[in-house]
Symmetry: C2
């Protein structure tokens, strides 16, 4: 056992170089500065006091630095997971902010447990079953829900918590007239600063700039007395130890959302880690170790007053651009947050909530993807349908139902495809020994007495009925003169017991109709299976051919021989 597999930090720390430190320092500070407003904003999105967003990026960041296999991934609160946290806890109707926090810690703990468990049992492959269009539709819908959830801070109006777009839109329509214009102006100003400030200088930390401007404005003009909501007291000092709830009633309510967070969080995190890793290639990603690392980071969140975390898209990109070489950058970010917690929390007293809402809005606006649905509409209608259904279900029936629908759609698609293998009726390209699908090429040579079929996929219980039905239809169409069915198995990788049983039955039932069966181009494992199930004996060893051409030549010879035998008596008479 190689300990470095489980503690990837040992891969790089022993040979850590000064040149690497330069990049890590620059990236660590950049991301740290970014984390201050984002952490607070996402905590607010999750329904918690802003300070918990800062707690959530101390211990978890350091834990990921030790256990994670990506060297640039920036772990912490992200928009989608924070929204899911709020939705999950909301359904438990907590009675106090203490209880709310307890549920948030419990959720982090459960997410940790699930991700750690999935990693240990090597279940990382599960996210493969969230297909690309499903993730895309889900993300766009979630971004819209997140955006709408920030309207109440931006307009300073009362809105109920909901994750159903139709309810939110109605509530916004009913309350929009109560908009607090000063708050709204600050929010819109912040959006402009964050979004277009980059144009002045690309490395300007615009969210922090908006935060600083907001604080200065509120402080300078005493805006809080004019109704602008501010963050208020932010306690100073490091997070103390906390414990999740071990009440199984709470667990059973939180587990569905914990599962959703685990999967969605890991999918987001691993996708960005893969993209960045592809640019470096000096280390390897391990999906199961990633799950373990994220699980441990979430344990850190659970025991140090955080809430569920994962690898974030935008911060990871910034971290990489700013030159991060190893997870030392994350450690430096964490140290920066620790210093903030120790010495600078007082500064945030006058921070307007609308500015944090602006941070969230700008972050999620980039997640709404219009190009991909248009692209899929043009190129792949069934993938487009998956995207749109997931999008609409998420938008109208909620996040959890959305991701579940997406998974069911994806798995349904796998099963649907698996149960309908591609099949082709073959004809010969004139003058060659090449056989092709008669549906895709015209002028192919076909014999009236012979049906040639190629099956493209394994023959097994889930698809035998489909295969038989299709062949039956083809046999029916040529019934008049048909004497032989040639089954080309070149694209069949395996035959299971049900497939073998059925194949046997097909052959017998065709023989009963006076139709002979030849099998061509079997692959090794298929030939083995046919042999095991005595199918070669049933077909007849002389009816098995290396390719379609040999089978046809055999049939021609057989026919010739039959003709010869029929005329043999007359031949002797002539002698």
């Amino acid at each position: 056992m190689d300990i470095r597999k489980y503690l990837p930090i040992l891969e790089w720390l022993p040979k850590y170089e000064k040149t690497q430190l330069k990049g890590d320092l620059s990236a660590g500070i950049t991301v740290g500065i970014m984390l201050i407003p984002q952490g607070m904003a996402y905590a607010m999105l999750a329904g918690l006091e802003p300070i918990y967003g800062l707690y959530a990026v101390t211990i978890p960041l350091i834990l990921y630095a030790i256990f994670g296999t990506s060297r640039q991934l920036a772990v912490g609160p992200v928009a989608m997971v924070s929204l899911l946290t709020a939705a999950g806890i909301g359904s438990l109707h907590p009675e106090s902010t203490d209880q709310y926090l307890l549920y948030a810690l419990t959720l982090a703990f459960l997410v940790g447990l699930i991700q750690f468990g999935m990693g240990v049992f090597k279940l990382g492959f599960v996210v493969n079953f969230l297909s690309h269009p499903v993730i895309n539709g889900f993300t766009s819908a979630a971004a819209i829900i997140i955006g709408l959830s920030q309207i109440k801070h931006l307009f300073r109006i009362n809105l109920p918590n909901s994750e159903h777009v139709q309810e939110m839109l109605v509530a916004i329509y009913q309350n929009i007239h109560e908009t607090h214009m000063l708050t709204f102006a600050i929010g819109v100003g912040a959006i402009l600063v964050i979004k277009y400030g980059k144009k002045i200088h690309s490395s300007l930390p615009t969210p922090l700039l908006a935060v600083a401007l907001g604080i200065a404005l509120v402080w300078g003009f005493d805006l809080s007395s004019q109704g602008v909501k501010i963050v208020g007291d932010v306690p100073s000092g490091l997070p103390t130890i906390s414990f999740p709830s071990f009440d199984f009633g709470v667990w059973s309510t939180l587990i569905p959302i914990a599962l959703t967070i685990s999967l969605v969080g890991f999918a987001e995190s691993f996708a960005v880690a893969k993209t960045i890793q592809a640019k470096h290639k000096n280390y390897k990603l391990d999906s199961n170790q990633e799950l373990i690392a994220l699980g441990i980071a979430n344990f850190g969140a659970a025991f140090f007053r955080g809430f569920p975390v994962t690898g974030g898209f935008s911060r990871t990109a910034v971290n990489n651009q700013a030159g991060a070489k190893t997870t030392m950058a994350s450690v430096i970010s964490a140290v920066l947050i620790v210093l903030t917690l120790l010495f600078f929390t007082d500064l945030f007293y006058n921070l307007p909530s609308a500015i944090l809402a602006a941070v969230v809005l700008v972050a999620v606006s980039g997640l709404i993807d219009l190009r991909e649905p248009i692209n899929l509409w043009k190129k792949d209608r069934s993938d487009f349908a998956m995207l749109i259904v997931t999008f609409l279900v998420t938008l109208t029936l909620g996040i959890e139902t959305g991701i579940l629908t997406g998974m069911v759609l994806s798995l349904g698609m796998v099963i649907y495809r698996a149960s309908r293998p591609h099949m082709a009726q073959l004809g010969r390209v004139p003058g060659t020994h090449v056989f092709r699908n008669i549906k895709r090429f015209s002028n192919l040579e076909e014999k009236e007495e012979v049906l040639m079929v190629r099956i493209d996929g394994p023959i097994y219980f889930a698809n035998v009925k489909y295969i038989k039905d299709k062949m039956d239809a083809w046999v029916e169409r040529k019934r008049q003169k048909l004497t032989t069915v040639i089954i080309n198995l070149e694209s069949v990788p395996s035959v299971d017991s049900t497939g073998a049983h059925e194949l046997h039955e097909w052959i017998l039932s065709w023989r009963a109709l006076g139709i002979d069966v030849c099998i061509t181009a079997t692959k090794g494992p298929v030939r083995d299976a046919l042999n095991r199930w005595n199918l070669i004996e049933c077909v007849g060893a002389d009816h098995m051919f290396i390719d379609d051409q040999s089978a046809l030549e055999f049939l021609d010879k057989k026919l010739a021989k039959e003709v010869q035998e029929r005329y043999a008596p007359y031949a002797t008479q002539c002698d």
Copy 2:
């Protein structure tokens, strides 16, 4: 619309012939005689008075005769469905026999609703996902559970109702000393008569013979006063109209078992119908119409004091052997039962329950299949594992959990297979243009600079990771001198959007490593997809080849040209 599709009776009734009536009459009487003891026995197995077994074969039989597409299928109570009925109703803890009956009617109604609905929505294909080994393991286990459930009647001992084998065995062990020897002797005698009576004459209705002998013995020697349990009063007359419960509390408890009965019942029925149809071929089976017909038959059971019914294995075989040509045979069986209900019910007063238990035991003993597991152990270990797991789970955790496990296993298998397409690294058969898997053939020609890969399956979201990981491992092994990857797509039937995205990324990442990519032997739909996703442009139209040989020749020429160009300056110098 062809009305005969929905009323298959119209297919044969208008041209019904005298010769057909002869066969139908013989078969109808034979099955009718068989139905009297079996119906009563299965009613007892379902936890109902024996008379309900006779009710369940009147209207349902006639309804199936009208709507069913099989001409030999004998519908009625069967062992497995009766056992499931008892298990489902038991979990509702009915307080009286009236309530028990109400639940049985409700169950029949729900089964009818589910099967009818599945038929209308053309969901007949769902049973394909119960694989052969899963059905085999499930049936053997259910047969054992059914057999054990009859022990209490055969030994006349008290046993709790249970569907967990371990509990049943413990209870039997604890109570076996209370065996009523006279009852036991009658039961064993009946088993011998039913099982070996056939040896005297193959068309002897041995179950009815056992029933007659039992009645005669009890009546002649007044055995009921000596403790032999008898059936007692059997009310005479036809079943009156009944109504299922429409209490949604009852429905929600019964729905899981109703779903199980619908699927298992249909699977059993359709399997036997298919086997028999294959011997006749003068009509066609339609799985969705079969579901509709069985659904309507169950409605008949629900409204005429029956309980869930389906097409039975043994009775159908007997029906066919006895010469049934159309479902007229079923109508004749039903008429026979009606006559029995009207005139002969008094005869059954003295029938010992142990004889009905013997009827069930002999019927289910044939369902325990030892050959198939042994066969699978030798020929297909993964199918063997599915069989054994389903068998053990059904035996120890109950029928419902068993069938659910079987379905999950089957679907899991579909997904597992779908996510791991077969792949081969290719080499050239020396002296030919034929390329084969280097793992299955030795002495194949391979170039150090070229990796040739064939993917056997669609490229889509569920398997892209597996494909990439496998290719990466192969690339890694040849890394030293590798210049080109040739991907053979001859067995790839389709590429979805995720597959296209990934393929694009792979190509870019290999290029970044200095490895070129060629694609060969694409099928029509795949070429279309590659074109739509601009992948042909990305690979380069001159890097797409009709077959592997052309790709290799292209590479040779390219190499030669590169060499030529490198030496070109010297060449001119020489001139």
